[in-house]
Amino acid sequence: MRKLFLCLFATILFTSLCIAQNRTLPSIDVKTLEGGSINITALENNGKPIVISFWATWCKPCKKELNTIAEVYEDWQDETGVKLVAISIDNSRSMAKVAPYVNASDWDYEVYIDPNGDLKRAMGISTVPHTFLLNSKKEIVWQHKGYVDGDEDELLEQIKKLAH
């Protein structure tokens, strides 16, 4: 009986350790602004943190989040080496506006488009904005739904935890 308990305990510990392992990015293709496609698992930042932010040209809070971060992005990069990847869920109605909006807004982010929601579904996103933080192994360690003023401070704290 004691053996059984021990065994049970060990298994539960083992299982919970395994379940606690972080989630990785699904293998899904997204469109580049140059008309090509790239598999999202190919994102790279040399072992530094990556932020993935889902947005759309028609989403006010999304643009607010990305515009706010754009103002401090250089500082964030110097401090933590973070890279931000903005994935637009604009479909063919507003896809053509993505590159001009991004350029006109002076964003230095890597931008991709997910026009039929394939990546959005694979990552369990029901509303935008939705932000993910990836560690050096490209595992998702933190996520946040929505954006209100000040949320960027919490994101930065989380990035710093990974970067030090």
Binding site: L8, T11, I19, C59, A96, P100, N116, K145, G150
Partner: protein, 544 residues
């Protein structure tokens, strides 16, 4: 003994499970619940539901292990929210799939979503908030034989509510990125694509011989050079009469659609010029069915507004026929300049105009033949026009402001499918101010004031919204839409909404009370499309 066997079973299951986890198997998904209570309101014509409370919910589960993935969606409508069709009823697992990829070949069986080009000839997609879901059930193959060459083919039936339409849909698409495929080191990038979709449906019409196989095809071209980007697609749908029993009812004309966009952008500046022409291009999964059976997507050529009063009179593509143009200009006035101030100023200009085709869309049968002129704008019936300018400015560290002015013309008869001449065109002028003030770190107040002036339709509206957010967990919002200019005094009503919510990481809970109009509802830092309602609402969304 039995107990021991059970323990052993559980143990081995747990161990097996953990090995599976160790080998990279992952389970993820998301959950969404929308509950709404309904109160009767005779004045606005809102009905109370017999059930008092209605509830929509769904759970997505995806399992991934290496190049294998499988998943399902459980959907629950007990009973469906009022704006949803009655056919969404009960519980079920209408979406399940398995897929793997090996040596560049991706095989999917079961349900999938797919789009050919821009969607002019085929698009299956879902928008849970609006109850739209035309997922396919069948087989899909994707293959990339060489770098820059992408092939896909699929067959299946298209979903409508909890059933599948009668038609069998077959499709194929090839896309070639010439620079990648030919290893060209050119500044100019060229991508070409060709798609073909065909629907089979048996002809059981006793009077007419209807085509059983209806094909649609499209060709697309994308040329990119530096800041320039041209993208165009032309689609044709072969004759697809609805199968009526009268000789006047069937239209044997081919349909076609053209969309074209040219964009240029550089740092601080971007411009988009678009046009489209649509002629008899609705493609359905089943003959003689309603819009729930549409399997193609013709993007609406107007700006998708999110401020409530800008979106009060929204445009929608008339798939039977329309001609439209749209221009967007994005400009950032530099920091430090006279108009730019300390932080710079952003301007977004948008113009769109949609009108009817000359003497209607293409028509062909024994009694009548008509092919509209390719381009005719002057003198044609106006469907929609929108001219708007948005200015965004960060005034200082605490205050940010957005202002919008717009002028819209909305053909209520056409866009709402009313008898011609009933309402005519609603002309409206709209002004919006949106100001946010940061009280201290994490605490922000945001005020929106909106005004819509119009004679037609429901007359003039005012709207005010106050939102208080405490980052990163809380938000509170109160808004009032007031239809003070309604021609019927009894309908000069206030539509008041109170919402508050809590969010932490991947979970979000929102509770609301009030009258909502259908449209994009942006509150508490999230935007979603909602149906109209009156009463209490509870929304929970979570992802894992």
């Amino acid at each position: 003994m039995l107990k021991k066997i059970t323990y052993t079973f559980i143990l081995s299951f747990l161990t097996l499970n953990s090995f599976a986890q160790n080998n990279g198997g992952e389970i993820h998904g998301d959950f969404d619940l929308n509950m709404q209570s309904y109160q009767e309101d005779e004045i606005i014509g809102a009905k109370a539901a017999d059930e008092i409370i209605l509830n929509n919910a769904y759970l997505n589960i995806n399992y991934t292990k290496g190049d294998f993935t499988a998943g399902l969606r459980y959907e629950s409508y007990l009973n469906a929210l009022m704006d949803f069709d009655d056919s969404y009823k009960g519980n079920g697992i209408p979406f399940r799939y398995a897929s793997y990829t090996i040596d560049g070949l991706e095989v999917t069986v079961g349900n999938y979503y797919e789009q050919v080009g821009s969607g002019l000839i085929f698009r299956s997609y879902e928008n849970k908030g609006l109850g739209a879901d035309n997922a396919m059930d069948g087989i899909r193959l994707k293959y990339s034989p060489l770098k820059g060459i992408y092939l896909k083919t699929f067959i299946g039936k298209s979903r409508t509510y909890f059933t599948y339409a009668e038609g069998i849909i077959r499709g194929a698409d090839a896309e070639v990125n010439l620079n990648e495929a030919l290893n060209l080191e050119s500044k100019t990038k060229i991508i070409i694509g060709q798609g073909l979709v065909s629907r089979f449906q048996a002809d059981i019409n006793p009077k007419f011989k209807l085509p059983q196989n209806v094909a649609a095809y499209s060709t697309r071209l994308n040329i990119i050079n530096g800041g320039w980007n041209y993208s165009g697609e032309y689609a044709v749908k072969l004759n697809d009469p609805v199968g009526s029993l009268t000789s006047e009812g069937n239209n044997y004309a081919k349909g076609n659609a053209l969309m074209s966009s040219l964009t240029y952008s550089k740092r601080g500046f971007g411009i988009v010029a678009e046009m489209h022409r649509v002629d008899h291009m609705e493609f359905r999964s089943e003959r003689a069915q309603e819009k729930q059976y549409i399997i193609n997507y013709i993007p609406t050529l107007t700006k998708q507004h999110t401020y409530t009063l800008l979106a009060l009179y929204p445009s929608a593509t008339q798939t039977e026929g329309e001609f439209g143009t749209q221009i967007d200009v994005f400009y950032k006035i530099k920091k430090g300049s006279l108009l730019g101030g300390k932080y710079g100023t952003k301007l977004i200009f948008n113009f769109s105009r949609i009108n009817a085709l000359n003497v209607g869309s293409s028509f062909l049968n024994d009694n009548r033949k008509h092919t509209p002129m390719f381009i005719s704008i002057k003198g044609e019936e106006l469907y929609y026009k929108d001219i708007n300018l948005e200015v965004y400015k960060k005034i200082n560290k605490k205050i940010r402001a957005t202002g919008v002015i717009a002028k819209q013309s909305y053909n209520k008869d056409v866009l709402e499918g009313k008898t011609p001449g009933t309402y005519g065109i609603v002309e409206s002028t709209i002004a919006i101010a949106d100001i946010s003030y940061k009280i201290k770190k994490g605490y922000t107040v945001r005020i929106e004031l909106q005004e819509l002036l119009a004679d037609g339709g429901e007359g003039s509206w005012s709207m005010g919204l106050a939102e208080y957010t405490i980052s990163p967990h809380w938000f509170f919002a109160v808004q009032d839409m007031y239809n003070w200019g309604n021609h019927e005094i009894s309908k000069q009503l206030h539509y008041v909404n109170i919402n508050f919510g809590y969010l932490k990481g991947a979970n979000r809970i929102e509770i609301g009370y009030g009258k909502k109009r259908a449209g994009i509802f942006c509150v508490g830092g999230v935007c979603k499309e909602v149906p109209s309602s009156n009463g209490f609402s509870l929304a929970i969304s979570s992802s894992f």
